[in-house]
């Protein structure tokens, strides 16, 4: 997908992935890749600053939890109430936009006057 499209919708992608429950960075990447058949291939170097930005905007909260492999603790991200509202707004806006663009793709039944 184009960098511009991903950049503009990065927050939406991350929040949507967190809707199903708390996840840490690697899980988010795997989830994005898995659920979209590889269409969303998130770059790790961009992911963490973006997650921290969402945390700072209070759309997510974060907490460290022990690793199940005995390694360093993992930082889990949880969708906040504010994040849920923001996601719903962005999703509604996206659907409106999608619907409008979809309507433009259809043949103009009325024809040009």
């Amino acid at each position: 997908m184009s960098n511009g499209l991903l950049r503009d919708n990065f927050d939406l992608v991350l929040l949507a992935i967190l809707e199903d429950g708390p996840k840490y960075g690697l899980e988010i990447i795997a989830e994005a890749r898995g659920r979209t058949d590889g269409y969303f291939d998130l770059k790790e170097g961009s992911l963490y600053p973006a997650l921290h930005r969402l945390e700072r905007a209070a759309h997510v909260t974060a907490e460290f939890r022990p690793s199940d492999t005995g390694g360093p603790r993992r930082r889990y991200y949880l969708l906040s109430e504010s994040g849920s509202r923001y996601l719903a707004e962005r999703r509604a806006a996206w659907e409106r936009f999608n619907g409008a663009v979809g309507a433009l793709w259809k043949p103009n039944r009325g024809g040009a006057k």
């Binding site: 963490y48 600053p49 921290h52 700072r56 390694g71 360093p72």
Partner: protein, 409 residues
Amino acid sequence: MNTEAERYLRRATRRLWGRRRLEVREELAAHLEGRVTAYRVAGLTEQDAVEKALAELGSPQLVNTGMERLYTLPTVLGSGAAFAAVCVAVVASLPSGLAQSVPGTFYWPSAMCIKAVEGKTVRSPSESCYFTLDSFWLNRDALKRALEPQGTVVSNTSVPGAGDEDGLLSVTFPGATPVYTSLGSPNFYMTGRDGKRIPMAEGYFSFWDFLQNASQHRELAVSVSGWDNPSVSFGDVSFRLGTESEPVTGEKFYSAYLNAILRKDGAFADLESWGGFALPSLQTDAEAAKRLARLQGSRLLETAVTFRGATKGVYGVVTSLEPNGSLAEALVPGDFPTDAFFLVQPVQIREDGTTTLELPNGTSTFVEGFSGELLPNTSMLVRLSGGPGQGRGWYEVIPPGDITLTAQN
């Protein structure tokens, strides 16, 4: 953890501070550990697995830039710290020999930190004090005008997911890969000396971040030279900071340089691993502390120290002081809210490799640190001018074996 991974983590977190730095570091370490384990299970050697995991993470500079934009610039600039600005100029040394003058901006420390710069005590240093002590900002357009005639491309670029599109400056010197550095957040402004608001949106960036980033490029010889209005060169491209009418004085420039180094964990790590040397004048006792306390506001230590064995240039002396020790108490009355405390001071070393150090003097600053593992009353000598060499950073710690100290009372 693997040395290469350690180096990556240090670079990726270097401009972050305290708890935030440790958290980001732990998060990235967990990420690397997860990826390395997966690659090991897939049959890769430890070394190959680490290399692959690091390559996936991308440039530590870009990770760091994204984090810094969140945690360093907005926090400090938005805190209402009393910034004062004075216009200076970046003077380009053009190949033709003609000097082109273009305005840049040098931000002086807040009032509280100016007290420290003047060699007086600081009662309650704060994080913003570190920031303002090393604040030295250049303007993107000024840099562009100075460097483009010398074949250097200066442009804006972006990091997907890290914020707005105008957040990153890319500078491509001839024959080198681009040097990236973050621009100040467009949402913040600083107050100039004349009270005028200067929006960061006009494209200001920290000179130190830029210098540090550039000095990690192996293909680029980066160096700073001179005292007042120092020259900076990146390969064959060079320019001077300041003009005769609006000079960048060596005292302020190199004091800020040292404070900028201390803000990065690399300097702390060097002091920890290297051990440093003990300045005779800091072998203080209770009686000496009382004497020091009486001398507050003037020169606190009257003992001079001569360094021998260093080559000519500008150096910095960084000394860690015991937080609750007699010397620190004499310098900073009251509870010191940290576990490490440093006295930093630039010093010019003469042609014969000697200098006389007066601790502290008007160029000294006192700053708090965040590491509790430092040996108290231990110093290191750091070379600032000349540069350690291509790809080897922006300062060089002089091994103690190369230094001979001669105390003078």
